[in-house]
């Protein structure tokens, strides 16, 4: 019963992420790819997507696009990923049980930013903000699953 209750705690976030992903279509991604200078928060979200999908990212460097420092984004490495015709499908079918704690740690500098939210991303760039919801849900799921899985093995 413990296990069921723990897993149930992750379900709303997973449902929300699934709906947010469904709201994104290929045209949204196409438009984003064409932007010469995509919004800074969108670049950060795509860094997280690269990290979750195991893609390459640039080494850490601090940049200051606005009033505060942030990590330099890997946008040039995100573009080929977005160019894949199966990109959105790959995310839909992503194996969340394969995420490990190292990946969660790598997401931390991004996710802990107070403006790393669906609303902030939505203002900046419409439906692709759903990827922010997805990143957060993957992070939360992994954290909960870490508690649940040992109980299941008992």
């Amino acid at each position: 019963a413990d296990v069921e209750r723990d897993l149930a705690a992750a379900q709303p976030a997973l449902d929300e992420a699934e709906n947010a992903l469904k709201a994104i279509n290929a045209k949204d991604i196409q438009l984003l790819k064409q932007l010469k200078s995509p919004p800074e928060i969108i670049r950060r979200i795509f860094d997280c997507v690269l990290i979750l999908l195991g893609g390459d990212i640039v080494p850490c460097a601090l940049v200051k696009p606005k009033e505060r420092f942030t990590l330099e984004a890997s946008w040039s490495l995100a573009l080929p990923m977005m160019g894949k015709s199966t990109f959105l499908e790959d995310i839909m079918h992503f194996d969340r049980d394969a995420i490990n704690d190292e990946t969660v740690e790598l997401l931390h500098p991004y996710i802990s930013a107070e403006d790393f939210t669906y609303d902030d991303a939505k203002k900046a760039s419409g439906n692709v903000a759903g990827l922010c919801t997805w990143v957060r849900a993957m992070d939360m799921y992994t954290t909960i699953a870490k508690v649940v899985k040992p109980k299941m093995e008992q």
């Binding site: 850490c60 601090l62 420092f69 990590l71 194996d95 190292e102 740690e105 790598l106």
Partner: protein, 203 residues
């Protein structure tokens, strides 16, 4: 101008400022020094102040600009060392923690060779995706680690070359598994008995 790098010593001092009065950094079991960029600049060097972390089991130094492993002497409880997303080239200077270290997280670095890893006789988990290992012989060095059960290796040069030369994901897994028959999890996916048997039959 703005400060864009920091020492471990300064980072520990700042971490101490975030703790409640009665808590000391030296007492923490989980020490996070991976940067939240708008609070702290990046770390470029490991220094002997790490040795004060006697209770630390999990040291998080990922997402920095560290180019070599060093100064772990005194970290007598260390079980998980995370140096992911730095600029490491070598596995080195781990003798002082080899007795306790169970997990090494070093994905997203510039590591080509794994010499030095054989000292970590208690290692159970090695995460090293997205490095620069191109020779499968480096994987054979892991055969000297009796407790290693989980490996993350995708995104290395060996992996991409294998795929670009016409191999598929399944064969790539066989290549690793037949060299490391004790692995339980490879690239986040459990190894089933059937898969292990098939890998062995190919060697």
């Amino acid at each position: 101008g703005a400060v864009t790098m920091t020492s471990v010593k300064d980072a520990l001092k700042k971490l101490q400022e975030t703790l409640e009065d009665d808590k000391k950094v030296e007492e923490l079991e989980d020490v996070r020094l991976c940067m939240v960029p708008w609070q702290m600049p990046l770390i470029t060097k490991m220094d002997p102040s790490l040795g004060t972390l006697k209770k630390c089991k999990h040291l998080r130094l990922s997402s920095n600009q560290i180019d070599r492993i060093g100064s772990l002497a005194g970290m007598e409880s260390l079980e998980i060392l995370s140096l992911a997303r730095n600029q490491l080239k070598k596995i080195e200077n781990l003798d002082s923690v080899a007795g306790t270290l169970k997990q090494l997280w070093i994905s997203y670095n510039n590591i080509v060779a794994l010499n030095g890893i054989e000292k970590l006789q208690n290692l159970e988990v090695l995460y090293m995706s997205n490095n620069k290992v191109h020779d499968i012989k480096e994987i054979e060095r892991l055969q000297s680690l009796p407790k290693l059960t989980e490996l993350l290796f995708h995104g290395n040069a060996f992996h991409s070359r294998f795929l670009s030369e016409g191999g598929d994901e399944k064969e790539y897994r066989f290549e690793i598994m037949k060299r490391l028959p004790n692995l339980k999890i490879l690239d986040g996916v459990h190894i089933e008995d059937e898969e292990r048997a098939e890998a062995q039959s190919r060697s």
